[in-house]
Symmetry: C2
């Protein structure tokens, strides 16, 4: 038996009751994107998105299943609506581009239940030229004081046959999977961002913005190309518990004709609130080195003992290396007490205020400072997050006194295994990395760090939803398969992986991928599927305001010509453009240095040899540039000795020139463009 | 960062640590199906299933994510194993076949964590000639007193490219969807049973058996053809909470070369425990009529008033009709107090002990009894299940005194909206129809009903997992899109739907589809997509030990020739065979009457005209039979006036004869075969 009663009641009132009536509409500033809202005869709400009059998202339902109250999804009437236009340009403290235009038309449509509790909520749609963001806005009301949300019934009925690039949700290894490239109809349960390319060439990404005090949204495929929201669980019975008033994160649909439209979109950032921290200019985008790759190679250990990496002497060696080569930061993992035990998914013994006996934290901080270098802190929680929260304020304060103004945090444990202590009775509850509780945890960390002028680079994080706009000290994160998989992964990263990141994970925000492993070799001699030039190109292709030179100093000594680019490349930008590329196949990105006149290009390739004309039409007219080109040598390839075939060469170029880039399979090209004084 | 610590530790001990070691194996009695268990270098457990040496299920992981304890999935060692063979034939009190052979080889493999808490569990595999069942068996142990299971990590990595027939899970309308037919790779999140046909012709169904005190399992597709278990949530924070010792339901993989191997398999029943109720011979398989279709046509109402269906006079009319035509049962919906309010998903006002003023329950029961007819009770809960549980014992006792020995229960509300009252504080908690709490609720109902000699036919039920073997008074249920959708569904059922049910939903167990709407017309004149002959064929094609003659008496009067088959057809069987058919296309089933010598055939067709040779090689040799054939007439079709084109004819046939059945689009054929005395 279906919705029997309603069916019958409404059928009396409304013959053909399943047919819908349009109740509201909004269009983008350029008029190309239109959002329409319908109510059907059962009072169920749906939206659809058109572009140039053709559907992008077909009729898609909205609503909630609640645990503490009746479902909120039918028997709705429209109870008012308003619209407004907005246009501003704001400046990022750091980022892929300095100035961001935020221009949209907003529709707010208010709905109320026709009978019973007359519960109310509004849908707010912001329609940009490059996509749509919408959220539920639930006001304070007597009959819905608290919403225990078990399921958000938001749908995305993708209208056009599409290819999808996606990773599975709810798996034990969290966000660290190679991407699937399948028909959208073959998606199972996916994380966001999920990137789609329709057979007619339209590019679409579904994600979310401003994930605050809510569970991360995944997408479960229903019939055909229908995607259903699926909220990440938490330790509680409902995925989300909120008192009214509250609003959901923005559900985002970025739309463009070209892959570049997705890569260059600032829609996610625009849907976040402005800077809530005030002046964060103490954070300087920078490059760093440190005790890290050696650990993954198993040459050194996090634990103390004969192979301990975080010793005073070893760290001094890295500080010297950083100072000599212009790197601001030195990351040291394994510096604190707690690594000797069984820390995996069990960080209750970590002490974030206490260094190991063989690590002179204060002495090293002073040594670094004298050389203009800053230590970078490391807080691996082992997922004992309550334990970490109790210590973090002291730990950040300690770092602050030592000039340590960036910290890499870590949450190493399987999905669903974050441990927090219940305040009421001390029992341990288990959370998911992307659940509501963790969305709040990360903000507690970020806010407390900001108080002590510390920037956060979270590994095994919650997904990025653009909160760096509001909290500019949340500078980077992991949240995908990084370079470390090239040390010990089975399989290691494929050439397609990094290319696909550009069009998927990177749409969410910066990633601390840790490029620059010029030795191209992981543990036990495992080959890294990359050419040497590609390792350089990654610095430009995969954006982060902090970039590691991940390899060992002795390896850079063996590849000094390549190392030159790593020393020269900028980490903060005035502009960024995808100048060529197709999702999952190749990507060439040009960025203009912020606070400087240089341009940089990084292009990376899948496993198929390719020639890509790089049009230099972004350069200043009338200026000649020295192009310092780091490219794949003849016969270079991502396998065997050929991956080291590498050429550095210089040419003089002007605006309008075309660099014909030959990219090896698994190859790349990195270019620095330096204006020449006349 | 991945499983860093383990990776490093194990890499020292075991170079090439990702490779797996086989630790246990079992084979089916005929040796064709083999199950193998592996442990890899991380101590992760996987199973695979081969048939004739070729993979059916590739390496598939096992494990749990717990809320109150660490994940139970890696660092395992094998700690013992045993095997046994079993072979018995048992008799069903009623069913598709009287005798069922239960023959398998069982492997029990015990696993323990190598370090830390040394938690233990066993995997029990039963390997039959027609498939595999396996479950987790978790013993009582100090370090795992209670398991709060958030996610069961069971995988089904289907090895061969396959087509899938499936309905989506976690949607508001529960189990009531038209089936999708897609590539397996295009499945999203599916309910079970899910039926697969590999490109090489192998037929596979994944489902579960003996769902007791556990959440129903759905299947979420990962990469390619990998299916992950996904447990239905409940009102609590974990999908399942169990004290040790406990075991999970059986996860089942039925395997056969032909569709018939699935349809004729008794694997699900065999994996259930034997009859726990003792003598239930008071339940008589039967056919019934009643106040039902008129309600869906909106000719009568559940609520009292001028159109009330459940009046004394109207019920007498149905009792007379039943008595005149040999139907044992008369179902009357809307007989009790509570329908006049807003009952949808709100059954707190229902009174299951009190008839409406215009319904003389006792008088009608006596009137029926005098005519050899039994009223059938109706308990629509409106999802107020705690309210129902408080009244049900009284309600069943009342029915028992009145000769009412079958009750149709109902749980009309959206998914996740079952309301139960927390014993501790009286607050209302919301459950899912297929969650752990409801698995226990249904058994409480079934056991209490059995105490009062009442059989249960649950609508909007939990899925069927073969528990009728243990509780033979749980005789039928809905749990799919039934005939009612032909009254008001948008769209109504398609010709493919009923055909697909044979190979999907019906593999779980009996369904109260309510066939026999000979008027072929729904509400407001909507055409039912079926020929007249097909309505008859449904009685044989879709098994239930209770079958409704769903149409109105006046309609049967208009189609007396067709009605004859409905009067004659049996409802309990000695044998059942799919004699021809392909999944989702057509199905011809032959069944031998239990307690009689007649055979019946029912064949139903998708929308494509088809001729099917029905080989009568199941008949007794040396006996001549009168074939009473009810078939589509020339030019019959599932649309327009042509759906009424119908022929009844008789022929004499013997074993080995072939009936060439011409099936219209959306058509069918029904045959009764009566032995002729020489």
């Amino acid at each position: 038996m279906k919705t029997l009663k309603f069916g019958i009641l409404l059928a009396l009132a409304l013959p053909g009751f399943v047919h819908a009536e349009q109740v509201a509409q909004a269009a983008s500033p350029d008029g190309r994107i239109v959002v329409q809202l319908d109510l059907n005869g059962e009072g169920r709400l749906a939206y659809r998105v058109l572009r140039d009059g053709k559907p992008v998202i077909s009729d898609s339902r909205l609503g909630f299943i609640l645990r503490n109250d009746r479902q909120l999804l039918r028997n709705l009437k429209i109870d008012g609506q308003s619209s407004r236009s907005f246009d501003e340009t704001w400046e990022q403290p750091w980022g892929e581009r300095r100035f961001v235009r935020n221009r949209y038309n907003e529709l707010r449509a208010d709905f109320a239940e026709k009978d019973r509790d007359q519960r109310r909520f509004s849908m707010v749609f912001r329609v940009f030229d490059d996509g749509v963001g919408f959220r539920y806005d639930v006001p304070k009301q007597p009959n819905l004081a608290e919403a225990q949300i078990v399921q958000e019934l938001t749908e995305f009925a993708v209208a056009r046959p599409s290819t999808a690039w996606w990773i599975p949700a709810y798996q034990w290894n969290r966000e660290e999977y190679l991407y699937n490239r399948t028909a959208l109809s073959q998606v199972g349960v996916a994380q966001t961002p999920i990137t789609l390319r329709a057979d007619d060439g339209l590019h679409v990404t579904v994600h979310e913005a401003a994930l605050v005090d809510y569970a991360g949204m995944n997408l479960a495929k229903g019939k055909g190309q229908l995607l259903h929201a699926s909220l990440t669980p938490g330790s509680g019975a409902a995925a989300v518990v909120r008192s009214t008033p509250f609003h959901t994160p923005w559900r985002t649909i970025q739309i463009g004709d070209r892959a570049a439209d997705l890569v260059e979109s600032s829609l996610i950032l625009n849907l976040n609130e402005p800077n809530a921290l005030g002046d964060t200019s103490w954070f300087k985008p920078h490059k760093y080195v440190g005790v890290w790759w050696s650990l993954h190679l198993d040459k050194e250990t996090w634990a103390t003992g004969p192979k301990h990496g975080a010793t005073t002497a070893n760290t001094k060696r890295y500080i010297d290396f950083a100072a000599a080569n212009g790197f601001r930061g030195v990351l040291v993992e394994g510096w604190n007490v707690g690594w000797d035990g069984d820390w995996f998914a069990n960080g209750w013994d970590f002490d974030f205020r206490k260094a190991t006996n063989d690590y002179d934290l204060r002495g090293l901080a002073a040594y670094a400072k004298a050389k203009g270098v800053h230590l970078i802190g490391h807080h691996e929680t082992g997922c004992a997050v309550s334990h970490y929260e109790r210590q973090m304020d002291d730990a950040f304060a300690l770092f602050d006194t030592l000039g340590i103004d960036a910290v890499k945090t870590g949450y190493v444990c399987d999905a669903g295994q974050i441990e927090r202590q219940d305040v009421a009775n001390g029992s341990v509850l288990r959370e998911w990395h992307e659940g509501q509780w963790m969305s709040n945890h990360h903000l507690r960390v970020v806010r407390d760090a900001a108080k002590h002028r510390v920037a956060i680079n979270a590994h095994e994080p919650i997904k990025d939803t653009g909160l760096r706009r509001t909290y500019p000290n949340w500078v980077s994160r992991e949240g995908a398969r990084g370079q470390e998989f090239n040390a010990w992964g089975d399989p290691p990263n494929t050439p397609e992986h990094e290319v696909t990141l550009v069009y998927t994970r990177m749409l969410a925000g910066p990633m601390d991928y840790t490029p620059g492993v010029v030795s191209l070799t992981g543990k036990n001699g495992q080959e890294i599927g990359s050419t040497l030039a590609r390792q350089l190109a990654l610095y430009v292709a995969l954006y982060s305001p902090i970039q590691m030179a991940a390899d060992l100093p002795e390896h850079y000594a063996q590849h000094s010509e390549a190392f030159r680019f790593i020393k020269d490349v900028a980490v903060d930008w005035d502009e960024s453009h995808l100048i060529a590329g197709e999702v999952g196949e190749y990507a060439a990105i040009a960025r203009k240095q912020r606070g400087g006149a240089d341009w940089f290009i990084g292009a990376i390739n899948d496993r198929h040899v390719r020639s890509v004309p790089l049009k230099l039409d972004f350069l200043d007219a009338g200026t000649r540039y020295r192009a310092e080109i780091y490219r794949d040598g003849e016969g270079a390839d991502w396998k065997g000795a050929a991956r080291f075939r590498f050429v550095r060469e210089e040419r003089t170029v002007v605006r309008g020139d075309v660099l014909d880039a030959w990219l090896a399979g698994g190859g790349g090209i990195a270019v620095r463009l330096v204006p020449l004084t006349r």
